[in-house]
Amino acid sequence: MRLLSIDILRTVAIFMMVLVHFVENLASGYGLSASTVIGPYHRWWLPTGLAAPLFTFLSGVSYRTWLTVQQQRGLAAEVIARQTIRRGLFLIGLGFVFNVFVWLPEDTFNWDILTFIGSALILLEVVRRMPAEVPPVLMLLVVVLSPALQLLADYPAYWANAYFDYDVTLSDVLLGYLVVGYFPLFPWLVFPVAGYVLAPAVLAAPAADAAKPSADRWVLLLVGLLAAGSLLLQGVAGGVAGLGRWTMFPASTSYLLGMLAVATASLALLHRLVDRAAPQRPASWPAHCCQVISRHSLSLYLLHHVMHIWPLWVYGLATTGDPTAHWRTLLPVPVAVVLAGGFCLASVPLLLQIDRRRWPTVEGLMRWLA
């Protein structure tokens, strides 16, 4: 079951991610002194912090829809578990390979989004076995515990230069995975679990009985509560890191609630406007493009890094002997923006060509293995 709303949202997330990564990795420190600390919200117009929550939320939604289809096909729970765990392990392995080859070996354990989504998939295999009442308790625990864990682990000590800087020790590696890495389980686990839990309500058909409150109203109420909670935290504890201050690193509670509201509302709105409005309509070319991009989101994630990080490393190596010498300082911001736009535009025909010629992709490899 492929829903256009999910494809559109994933495409938007990918394009936002490409833009943010190009600007941050190529240009965020361009023209600034070396001592200036570049935070994730250095440029107000960059959609920083939007793509990752959407991606991870959609991974939960997609897992739920995939699971429903497998169960309808009559696949045994054991087979589903095996497939899920294989996919999770594949993503974790791919994440490590990606870290080594893109972020260089010293960043093997930076706990980027691939290792996180892989871990989340394996945990969703456990979550799906829980009674319906339990996953919300799990989310609540993760949200409540995360600020305390960040405090316990001394989060700022690992992020002195606005990136995750760790020693290759067991404690740092494990803490990175749990709390202080780029996408640690606490609190990022909330997004895939929320996607998994909310998918049936958000993607529900309209209620046949007009007298009964439809799922839409509950979703609207939830979005309102999440947004209100986020605003309240920002108002009451706006200065407290990890709690009220809107930050992605660490993902503060206000950020979590706010982004959950955004992700849920976006999906619900798109589902209402696109999937429900014309479920039988033949796909237009923009819709087809979104489907192709969404289907190859993993390839695009890898490709856009290779396209802008590897030249950066090679250039640095060639000019100074240090591959990371020009990280964040290579280009002016407008040039990085143009490059990001160019990549997005070029990716569509490339992916269409890959589909037409049936070239092997990383998604195909994952499907084959899982």
Partner: protein
């Protein structure tokens, strides 16, 4: 023709024929439309004590007009002739006994109609019996949505059992002493329509059905309790996991310096 057939008390669904007074009946004969419980017509014929039997052909023809598929029950007793179908009843009797005979027919009609309704409702419950059988053994997650439906069927079957239990004394009432015309007419009619047997069959069927839905209720309740326990267990596991994570992070942070 009279005693061999079982009358189930069904009311015909087809359009009924308008009741017309048969020809050749004695003066004073009359039809009381919808006088029977359930809306059936009642034909009252005052006759001399020995003349009732001679009216049988006309009364039979009149009674059969309403529904040919149900042959009338005929009872002749002490100069009183009664023809009964669920839709029409004719009573030919000396004028002084007519009210008591009519009362007996009316009372019997009420009992037969009630039993017929119960039998039809039981037939309706049998339609779901096979489909509901698995839930009598175990209510799974897939059946959880059907629990209100099963509960409703349990309510229906218990309600029918109650109605049947209340009806039973009227079917099994002992002969009156000293015997009266009304009492004996009622007794004969109940006997000809085999109300006692039918009540017993209905009781047996209801027992089977009630047993199934009682089992379903028990299984649903077991599942609910197990589900609550399951939720509680998971919450405890999560709390323990949370505590473990807190301890682990604290330990790692301390160990890492």
């Amino acid at each position: 023709m009279t005693g061999e057939h079982t009358h189930r008390g069904e009311l015909p669904t087809s359009a009924t024929v308008a009741a017309e007074l048969p020809t050749g009946l004695p003066a004073g004969s009359r039809i009381e439309p919808a006088a029977l419980p359930g809306g059936g017509d009642l034909l009252l014929v005052p006759v001399a004590p020995t003349a009732a039997a001679a009216l049988l052909p006309q009364l039979l023809a009149w009674a059969e007009q309403s529904d040919n598929a149900v042959p009338p029950v005929v009872v002749e007793l002490y100069g009183t002739l009664v023809l009964w179908t669920p839709r029409r009843a004719a009573v030919a009797s000396p004028a002084d006994r007519l009210p008591r005979a009519t009362a007996a027919v009316t009372e019997f009609t009420v009992t037969a109609a009630e039993l017929g309704e119960i039998e039809r409702a039981i037939a309706g419950l049998w339609r779901n019996y096979e489909a509901d059988l698995p839930c009598g053994f175990a209510v799974t997650a897939a059946d959880a949505g059907r629990v209100p439906e099963l509960a409703e069927r349990y309510r229906q079957s218990m309600s029918l059992a109650g109605r049947l239990a209340r009806l039973s004394p009227r079917i099994h009432q002992p002969p009156q002493h000293p015997p009266t015309l009304a009492g004996q007419l009622g007794e004969r009619l109940r006997d000809r329509c085999r109300l006692a047997d039918r009540e017993e069959f209905a009781d047996d069927q209801l027992e089977t059905i009630v047993r199934l839905y009682e089992g379903c209720g028990q299984r649903a309740s077991d599942r609910l309790l197990a589900q609550r326990e399951h939720v509680l267990t998971w919450v405890i596991v999560l709390l323990l996991a949370a505590e473990t994570v807190l301890l682990l992070v604290d330990l790692l942070a301390t160990a890492g310096g």
